[in-house]
């Protein structure tokens, strides 16, 4: 999955307008990033990459870029 596709999936997951997430956002600035979004993100990564996100690393994620790296690094591993 390319970064663009990943960000589009996040837009859909967070019920944002397409193109809202660009990859440069800090999670604290994404108003829709809340506990329910965490649950949905874990489910999204599981569905798209068939892996379970390491939750301690997810809790430490600070940016959308961190989320992409988390999903793809684990897949690469």
């Amino acid at each position: 999955m390319t970064p663009t596709e990943f960000y589009a999936a996040l837009d859909e997951m967070l019920e944002l307008d397409p193109g809202t997430i660009t990859g440069n956002e800090r999670l604290e600035d994404v108003e829709a990033w809340d506990s329910l979004a965490v649950i949905s993100f874990i489910a999204l990564v599981d569905e798209k990459f068939d892996i379970l996100v390491e939750t301690e690393k997810l809790a430490a994620a600070e940016s959308v870029g961190d989320l992409y790296a988390l999903a793809t690094r684990q897949k690469a591993a």
Partner: protein, 271 residues
């Protein structure tokens, strides 16, 4: 193989047994059910780091207790045994078959009480930092939790809950602040404390009827839990699995979620 469909993760308020109840569900409808109950001042979203892993194996249902999350306060928000009756009523209204049960803190005590009184049927029981079964607990902290006024108060409570210096207490503190500073939330928490404690001491209750449990039991606890300490061995039934997690505070299912998820899945799978 993933069986988790993000679209099937739902957290919403529904009408059940004449009440508005917050409910989070995930996982294949045909999978073996698992019921999760949160603790004092929490809600179903406390299981945010657990639902995904558990839903790979189970149909997960997490209920908001009265006066918490999306569940309206009821007259039953008071003595914890009243909440046992409430949970049993909601489980019956959901037509949930016997499930693997996992609870945190107050939620754990309610599930344990439900099995003691045979008002709930469980395939297994996992007690995470269970309230009400230990002689050592911090009532003053519970009182502070019910009186949060500022973000600084919320951050202080988060640091106490986590038991170790977290990377980002502010995110959890923000959620705590938003949820616990509404008049309704404060009234619910104060009602619970007034009904279960007198002068800072837990009201006396009959000893836990461990022998009434008809399903496998495991206990999960943080070694650095400063809110409720692990009961001494003579307070617990002999021969059960007790998992004490190093460098973990009162929220093992959040701060050590991967380990707790593995324990929950293994315990359910062993039955």
């Amino acid at each position: 193989m993933s069986t988790v469909n993000p679209a099937r993760v739902k957290y919403r308020q529904i009408e059940l047994a004449g009440q508005r109840v917050g409910l989070l569900t995930a996982g294949p409808p045909e999978a073996v059910p698992m019921l999760l109950l949160h603790g004092f001042s929490g809600d179903a979203l406390t299981w945010q780091f657990n639902v995904g892993a558990l839903a790979r194996h189970h149909r997960v249902t997490a209920i908001d207790l009265p006066g918490h999350g999306l569940t309206e306060a009821t007259e039953q928000i008071g003595y914890w045994r009243g909440m046992v009756d409430w949970v049993a009523e909601i489980v019956a209204a959901l037509e949930l078959p016997p499930a693997h049960l996992a609870g945190h803190s107050l939620g754990a005590r309610i599930l344990l009480g439900g099995l003691e009184e045979e008002k709930l049927a469980g395939l297994s029981l996992s007690l995470i930092s269970c309230a009400g079964i230990s002689p050592s607990y911090d009532y003053e902290f519970l009182d502070r939790l019910s009186r949060i006024e500022t973000m600084a108060d919320a951050v202080a409570c988060v640091l106490r809950l986590l038991g170790d210096a977290p990377d980002q207490p502010e995110r959890l503190a923000k959620g705590l602040f938003q949820k616990l500073t509404t008049p309704a939330a404060k009234a619910a928490l104060r009602a619970y404390l007034a009904s279960n404690f007198a002068e800072g001491r837990l009201l006396p209750a009959a000893p836990v009827r461990w022998d009434a449990l008809a399903c496998p039991l495991q206990i999960i606890w943080g070694a650095d839990d400063g809110i409720v300490q692990l009961p001494p061995p003579d307070w617990l039934p002999a021969g059960i699995a007790v998992h004490l997690l190093d460098r973990v505070g009162h929220l093992p299912h959040m701060t050590a979620a991967d380990r707790v998820n593995a324990l929950l899945v293994a315990h359910a799978g062993a039955t």
